[in-house]
């Protein structure tokens, strides 16, 4: 049984000005596990790349959420704030994976300035 993303992972907004000060983002994606007989809890981790100083509101590089997902596609969203200068990044990378290690989708948020 495997969870899969069946849409692109999108960020709203898809760009922001440096530096980020508790900048609010909404990340959305459709997930499904066609072989699951019943919806079940999935541990989803959203992570920021290690090469910059951006962090989520709790101060970490990752946030984890649990969502119940089965054979019917589910819209999964994450509302989070991000802070940091962004360093030399022109676009920062956000990766969604199902723990422990199944990468589902990636998106890039453009940084201006």
């Amino acid at each position: 049984m495997a969870l899969r993303a069946i849409s692109a992972l999108t960020a709203d907004p898809d760009s922001a000005k440096k530096p980020l000060k508790n900048k609010s983002f909404t990340f959305s994606v459709q997930l499904v596990d066609v072989k699951a007989s019943d919806p079940k809890d999935r541990n989803l981790e959203w992570s920021l790349a290690a090469g910059n100083d951006l962090v989520f509101s709790a101060g970490g590089k990752t946030v984890t959420r649990t969502r119940k997902i089965g054979a019917t596609a589910v819209d999964v969203t994450l509302n989070e704030t991000i802070s940091g200068t962004g360093g030399d990044a022109a676009s920062f990378r956000v990766t969604l994976r199902e723990l422990p290690s199944n990468d589902l989708a990636v998106c890039f948020v453009k940084l201006e300035g």
Binding site: R4, A5, I6, V32, V34, D88, A90, F108, K110
Partner: protein
């Protein structure tokens, strides 16, 4: 009115003599003294309209010098009314027929083929130490008529967009007289995208992986990829039969280290590129699982594999198109081809045929889910494939090359012998105040310049010392001063006029007015009335005069 009559009489007298002896002598001496380059004046002349032509030659070969026809060289048409006359250029002749105006700006005009969308002009002054052939050769090896500092002095640059019919008019700064000039034209024509898009797509496909290092897209990565693309695109232009370059201001203009437009375009490419890898991995796993489950079903014997079902399932392990093909290809993802409708229908039929609650139905339902996972993975891959394909098209739109055809033609501001005389020498008339004599005198004189003078050129614009300064040789009206016993130096045979000599120099303060000074040469009788002898004496003078338009004066006098 008296002074006007005196002046006219004086001028008439002067011209009568000059027509026979003085003028020829004076002017010959003056020109000899100045060392005017009149020998060169016969060189670049022309007058017959040159056929206006086609595009500049593009093969880089130096065309043979084509000899224009002799021209009527007058100041009035070419120089005296700035902007009133354009200099026609024909690319079929590499010597401009008309003498170039000097000291005033002007336009060169002509026509090019309509595919030329921009025409650039660089004008080089060719000094005596410049090897002309080498200069032409150097310029024709460039793509912008500048290259690496060709010989000659760059004196004018301009650019224009030809009209729909190919007619153009290009501005040229005021040029110095008595020089040859190399006119270097660059005809700029856009290269059709179809000529290079395939190559650019291949280049892009090879460079995108550099933007995925597992982390962010950094500015350094963008600069690296943009620079690499710029270099490769420039190489494409270099390799064309007619050299082409990336237009200034283009996204890949190598003159600029970065371009803010590139980041979003590169991100739009990298995002699907990274996601396609994830989806491809998922697709591979799903296909492997499907194939394994089908194999298990076969070996288990619970499912009846009809020939129809076998045929339908065979195509499910179809390979996805590569990520690179989303960039290099021109087609979108074959979404229908990866929906596996036949396999789905065959499995659905098998499910319907299977007995309820049977092992066969359970296995078949598992295969249906396996297939759906394969389809989901393929379709999601296709979603990103099309995103990448569209992002590629958006970026390709920014890629441009311009073919640059360089053509060099020569022009000359060297004056013809006749014109040189009137350009170096002018007449003026006015009043002089001799320092130690009782009265002022009227005089007419010849001004000898050390460079050709175009009186139409404003002194404020072209007003160097040599534009203003001239030596003056003049002849005065009657000099009488009883207190100094002054007499005319020379009387005419019929005694209707009499003259003394005036030698000096002057400065033009306006295009036609001059102040001057020098010495007045006159005869002086001896102070002893018993001695009937005269001697030549001089006295300083200051003068205020107006330049005389020789041509108009002649017309009015004769």
């Amino acid at each position: 009115m008296l002074w006007q009559w005196q002046l006219v009489s004086l001028v008439r007298g002067v011209f009568r003599r000059w027509s026979s002896r003085c003028a020829v002598l004076t002017l010959s001496v003056a020109i000899a003294l100045l060392g005017a380059p009149i020998v060169a004046a016969g060189a670049p002349q022309g007058g017959a309209a040159a056929p206006q032509d086609t595009a500049p030659a593009g093969d880089g070969a130096v065309p043979p010098l084509t000899g224009p026809q002799p021209q009527r060289d007058t100041l009035t048409a070419a120089d005296e009314a700035p902007g009133s006359r354009d200099v026609r250029v024909s690319f079929t002749q590499n010597f401009i027929s008309d003498r170039l105006p000097f000291d005033v700006p002007f336009n060169v005009t002509g026509s090019v083929v309509t595919s030329v969308k921009r025409l650039e002009l660089s004008v080089y002054q060719v000094r005596s130490n410049v090897d002309l052939a080498r200069l032409i050769s150097d310029l024709q090896r460039t793509v912008n008529c500048v290259g690496q500092q060709p010989q000659g002095r760059l004196v004018s640059q301009s650019a224009a967009t030809p009209s729909d019919t190919g007619a153009f008019s290009l501005f040229v700064n005021a040029l110095d007289p008595q020089y040859y000039y190399a006119f270097c034209f660059v005809g700029v024509s856009p290269v059709p995208g179809a000529d290079f898009n395939d190559d650019v797509r291949r280049i892009l496909a090879s460079l995108i992986p550099r933007l995925d290092n597992g982390g962010d897209i950094t500015n350094a990565m963008l600069a690296d990829v943009r620079s690499a693309m710029s270099g490769k695109i420039a190489e494409i232009g270099e390799g064309r039969p007619v050299r082409a370059t990336i237009p200034p201001g283009n996204l890949f203009d190598p003159a600029r280290p970065t371009d803010p437009r590139f980041g979003p375009l590169a991100t739009a490419l990298t995002d699907p590129f990274v996601n396609m890898e994830i989806q491809q991995r998922g697709h591979t796993n799903s296909v492997n699982e499907f194939v394994a489950d089908v194999a298990d079903a076969r070996s288990g014997g619970s499912v009846r594999f009809t020939s129809e079902l076998n045929a339908a399932l065979t195509g499910v392990n179809r390979t996805l198109p590569t990520r690179a093909s989303a960039v290099t290809g021109t087609a979108s993802f074959d979404s229908a081809g990866f929906r596996f409708e036949d396999a789905k229908a065959a499995l659905d039929n098998a499910v319907k045929a299977a007995a309820a609650g049977s092992e066969e139905l359970k296995v078949l339902n598992g295969l249906v889910n396996d297939l759906q996972e394969v389809i989901n993975a393929a379709q999601t891959y296709g979603l990103h494939y099309d995103r990448m394909h569209n992002a590629t098209a958006a970026l390709i739109n920014f890629v441009a090359l311009e073919a640059r055809v360089v053509t060099v033609t020569l022009g000359s501001s060297v004056l013809s012998a006749d014109l040189a005389r009137s350009a170096y020498v002018s007449m003026d008339a006015g009043i002089a105040y001799p320092w130690r004599l009782e009265s002022m005198v009227f005089y007419a004189g010849t001004n000898i310049y050390f460079r050709p003078i175009n009186k139409a050129a404003p002194l404020r614009y072209k007003g160097t010392f040599l534009h203003r300064f001239a030596l003056t040789v003049g002849i005065t009206t009657t000099v009488k001063d009883d207190s100094r016993r002054a007499q005319d130096l020379r009387n005419t045979e019929d005694n209707d006029t009499s003259n003394s000599l005036l030698l000096g120099a002057g400065i033009r303060v306006t295009p036609s007015l001059r102040v001057g000074g020098g010495v007045l040469v006159f005869k002086e009788s001896d102070a002893n009335p018993l001695i009937d002898q005269t001697s030549v004496a001089v006295t300083p003078y200051v003068s205020f005069t107006a330049d005389v338009d020789v041509a108009n004066l002649f017309r009015s006098l004769f």
